[in-house]
Symmetry: C2
Amino acid sequence: MHPSAKLEAFLANSSHLQTPFVVVDTDVVAQRYDALQAALPMADLFYAVKANPGRPVLDTLIARGSFFDVASVGEIDLCLNAGVTPDRISYGNTIKKRGHVEYAYDQGVRLFAFDAEPELDKLSQAAPEATVFCRVLCDGKGAEWPLSRKFGCDPDEAERLLHLAADRGLKVGVSFHVGSQQGNVEAWDAALEIAARLARSLMGRTEPVRLDVVNVGGGFPGIYQREMPSIEKYGEAIAASLARHFGPLYGDYLPRIIAEPGRYLVADAGVLRTEVVLVSRKHEMDEKRWVYLDCGKFSGLAETMEEAIRYRFRTPHDEAVENGAPTGAVIIAGPSCDSADVLYEKTDYRMPIALAEGDFIDIISTGAYTTTYSSVGFNGFAPLKDYYI
Amino acid sequence: MHPSAKLEAFLANSSHLQTPFVVVDTDVVAQRYDALQAALPMADLFYAVKANPGRPVLDTLIARGSFFDVASVGEIDLCLNAGVTPDRISYGNTIKKRGHVEYAYDQGVRLFAFDAEPELDKLSQAAPEATVFCRVLCDGKGAEWPLSRKFGCDPDEAERLLHLAADRGLKVGVSFHVGSQQGNVEAWDAALEIAARLARSLMGRTEPVRLDVVNVGGGFPGIYQREMPSIEKYGEAIAASLARHFGPLYGDYLPRIIAEPGRYLVADAGVLRTEVVLVSRKHEMDEKRWVYLDCGKFSGLAETMEEAIRYRFRTPHDEAVENGAPTGAVIIAGPSCDSADVLYEKTDYRMPIALAEGDFIDIISTGAYTTTYSSVGFNGFAPLKDYYI
């Protein structure tokens, strides 16, 4: 997966731009949206705005007919201001202030996540006509970005809460997240089996309740170091799991299926350009060099935390390397005075021996989770600049 | 260590303010500066601006006669705009763009850190009349914030570089950092022994070179969970080490001693107020509750990374707890949709059983490394607001 021709042209003519910056090709975003919609024809795609809330990204996806998954009232306003109608917005954060639920409901949002009884209380009081989907815990096996137990509840608890929600007259759904950057296309199956079990329980009520929505979350990958299955494989696996678990229950008539892609739509659409500030050794005899960039953990590359996301780097010497120029092992670090601002130390990265101060390095597939992760001004460095083309 | 009366008064009257926010009492900053100067009478104190670059903090320290340690040209401008004269600024980042060295030098800055030959090359070319201090690696044992090998070089390499710098006519110094939030007052001794060894090597030249500066760095603690030695103990230990290692070399005439306090001056001067958004269990039978706050890892509490800094929390139910009201084990998390935004999961925190949505929680000693660590808008949440009183 190479950067698009449009990205390459921009980068070729950007030596006058201050680094670090990210540039995002919105055509790639549109292509990805179309590819995912083709792979998941049964699903409404709710773009996870947090992945990259850049206005041109939103505009591109609005033109495509996308729906939007938001994490906060800030993101609701962002969407509404961009012209998204509130019926296309899902408030997917299970952690919401009561006043924020009220605000969202006033704006017309009718789709909300929850995973606990106190949150359901807020929703039944402040969003009485809404569809509320209960997030079930997943183990995140196969995912590159660590999935903690922060979101979701155990299936037994979900069952209790869904009945409670139905008792209160709310429309109900089930959601889960298999973990960001999920490499296993079968990861959705176990969760869909649980979702079907919950659907069955609701159908067993004296007055049967149908699931209004099944939210299969995100997890569709960008292309970093590791090869990933094609998006068609994900679509086929999810369709097969839906048929397997929901077919016996509903026949051909599925609940509304929604998905929340973030990274998949924008990661590969972006390139982050940074400059080498210093290449050094801690001792003359050290084999490993330290490469210090002008972008680090606190200026956009937060996903290098615990070396979880392993980006690809491109240097001006790569062609020479292909023709035999030597490379050597490196540790890669950011420019701040924080000793924790080291990007990769355990992961085996090599860079050309010729690499030197002033060289530009392009970090590939950095359109997701970079711009807004940047700190406001840690160590006096400006936030990461972003361009959309 | 309780918040100051001024902080308490502000918090008591701040229920109308949107959370989360940090409030910093600059009187405490002034008291801390005086206490540290009294404990280290031999040292010029260079405030590490990155700890909290709030203008009222700078103004307070300028009035006290402080010097300033900066990490970037952004922080140089901040200091100059506040009225700091350039002779009171040290550019303490070992990772500097060539253009930034030139800018600093043009502004009149004459004190620079380095730890590698390519960086020394930049300095000797772009800052010919400067004093350059070489940072030596320390192991950071006893420190709470992880000290990586990112900064500093091995002592042998430092010796080579210092001779090289002297050859080029630069004034030379030695610096080190024993690790942030250092609990062992003897941690400076080993590094000062190395510094003296380097001084001896320079004195042994045909034309002897004296160290111009010994920079003992920072590491002086704020008060979090753990008891810490008094600041006098740090001063006594450092003075004893200086006498032990430098006395035989220089007698009573020491090189210029500088220190770079950050956390010690501002941490305990601040309180971060956050609101409880949700208290829940993943299963009805779980003993541990999840407490979700409206401030997390990406909105100011980045130092909870790997649960390194363990803050103290204050709830509205603490008096009831003292009178016998029950508490229970909790996991504490932030409000974003990022599964990595969990503050404390392994550390044993307990909170009142009565804790509920809408309660304010005050996080004590949060004046350092909070405001500028905040992301620009991750998940659509606004950056952390700060007040200075």
